[in-house]
Amino acid sequence: MASETSVMTGNEAAATAARLARVQVIAAYPITPQSPVVETLSAWVESGELPAEFVAVESEHSALTVCIGASTVGARVFTATSSNGLAYMNEQVWWAAGARLPIVMCIANRAMAAPWNVLNDQQDSMSERDAGWVQLYCRDNQEILDTTVQAYLIAERLNLPVMVCYDGFLLSHTMMPVSVPDASTVDAFLPPRPAPLTVVDPADPRNIGPVVLADPRADAAGVVSPGYMELRAQHHRALLDALAVIPEVDAAYSAVVGRTWGGLTWEHLLDDADVVLIAAGSLATQLTLTAEALRAEGVKAGVLGIRAYRPFPAAALAGKLAGRRLALVFDKALSYGYDGPICTDLRGSLLGVEGAPAVFGAVCGLGGRDVSPDDLAAAARRALADLDAGARTRPTDWVNLRLEGE
């Protein structure tokens, strides 16, 4: 394949991927730290480099609504947002999924207000975990480009929307070398969008998205349509099908482009590890340094990175974690009043699994609080001390918390 390496930010990598995917409609509203994605795309549309419609809207709710309309009639669409912009979309986030639209949306992860904070954590997208989108988390700018291109094939095979999530500023505004495949290489991987599920024919019109009641119901012509639960069950099954499709698409991409990202999860020094450090996004990249430092101290540590958060790779994680001593999950988000989202989901995945490790949770990096590999290693040492003292569960550890009087 032909490619060219450029030094670019994560946001430019996302925009470049949308261009390579030949998106036809883009609608977006600016919000830090996502804005450069759509600024870049609008410049390409203006210059003619990208033959697409760029729809300037007055809000994120309208941005996703435009994407829903365009995707419903068969266009390949793109948008991007962050934090409160994603929250403002919330109603349409659910609509896009329930209507089974293959929309790809990049999320430059940013903390939720209040209080205002433009810096990174993963609370924004993690809070949308139940909306029925595929969620993929990237660890560097190359993965942002490759995953965003892959996301279209995943989305269009399953008729599901996909969020491609990457850490705000840490990736969105940090420059790295990125290998950009040429257009014909990407075309060989990603064909044009197949026909939509919707029938769009003025000669044979349809109600699209009419009310569906509890039970399957015959229409005026006697055709029985599924009830709400039947549509939701199929939606859920499509998400579960993504557990196979995400690795298949990664393999297909690897065959054409020559890079693989591991599908659902990825790992570093995991084979003989008895202490497994778990996170999503750039935090997991930092954990590779932590694991190496812990190994220098004689702790057999390894990293299990979460690439797909929805669908949650429960079986894959259980298979990789059985027989280990400790799974220590670092979440950059929190279900307030309970625990970190990845930690919570992982505990459920391991229930009843023979040889399951203890699962401890740690919350870190909220609102951009710096987390160094040393901080993460200190948290791992605390967790090991708790484990050695006989703990099988414990309260969430808040890494680098500096509350007065504590």
Binding site: R100, I208, P210, S225
Partner: protein, 104 residues
């Protein structure tokens, strides 16, 4: 599986959402003496037909409102340029009475 079985999609037809007239609190009552089309004796104006969000007004001189499906939103009364449509509380008509022939 057929595409139509995975998403909510149907062919347009009368009554797709059920007898929505049962939702109505206020009934539109048209005064033919004020309706532009009725007084002209031809299919003119039809602004109520244009604005009805549920498509339950049929064009005519004057237009006919299908109370089996009219939810009583009152947009027709609001938009009628001659004030020919009045929204009257259903209680004055007997709340549950929805005979098919009662089409104004």
């Amino acid at each position: 599986m057929d595409a139509g079985r995975r998403i909510s999609m149907s062919r347009p037809a009368v009554g797709e959402a059920g007898a929505t007239g049962q939702w109505r609190n206020n009934r539109p009552v048209m005064d033919p003496a004020l309706c532009m089309a009725a007084t002209a004796g031809r299919v003119t104006c039809q602004i109520c037909w244009v604005y009805c969000p549920d498509g339950c007004i049929a064009q005519g001189a004057g237009p006919a409102i299908d109370l089996t499906y009219c939810k009583g939103c009152g947009i027709c009364a609001q938009e009628c340029p001659t004030g020919a449509i009045e929204m009257v509380p259903e209680a004055l008509h007997g709340v549950c009475a929805l005979p098919d022939e009662e089409v104004l």
